[in-house]
Symmetry: C2
Subunit: 103 residues, 2 copies
């Protein structure tokens, strides 16, 4: 669903990825990381879709919250496995959301 974020400014991490072939434990770990992210201080929401390309955008209260989540021990282990076996290619973009609108 569309994340119900508070009024701007807040922060976004855009994670774009191309997967390798096969699951290799990815599915269960992705679900685990989703659950774990939700429990972190400053977490505001997440949006995710995958076709050829996967895009996950997570929203955060501050850059410090993003740094803390990146440094989370279980998340570090998932990131390592991501680089080693799940992703052919990926890009992480750290953004400040300056303005938003919609309906």
């Amino acid at each position: 669903m569309i994340a119900n974020t508070p009024p701007a400014p807040y922060y976004a991490v855009i994670f774009t990825s191309l997967r390798t072939e096969g699951d290799n434990g990815y599915g269960s770990m992705a679900q685990e990381m989703d659950e774990l992210a939700k429990q972190q201080p400053g977490y505001l929401g997440i949006e995710s879709a995958r076709e050829d390309l996967g895009i996950t955008v997570s929203y955060w209260r501050s850059l410090e919250d993003i740094r803390n989540w990146k440094a989370n021990t279980e998340h570090l282990s998932a990131q390592k496995q991501g680089r080693e076996k799940w992703y052919e290619q990926y890009k992480v973009r750290i953004c400040e959301v300056e303005r938003d609108y919609g309906f």
Copy 2:
């Protein structure tokens, strides 16, 4: 594919949407808008995926380039049709990309 953006800072528009039922001319217009966006000054790339949720992230050199694209006449007509018939719900987030990394 993952957009080959220049070194940060640059800007991102995160467009998250839930579609209505049926195509109603959406597919051809989406393709047309993709092509048109690529021709705009300051366009840096686009990334897109849809499952239940659709996420399209377009990248731009400046906020002014984003404003100009939003005000493009053909794009305005597409935005109007989007609100009237293609989208159940959507959110647009205007962001400054402060940092990126990946492989």
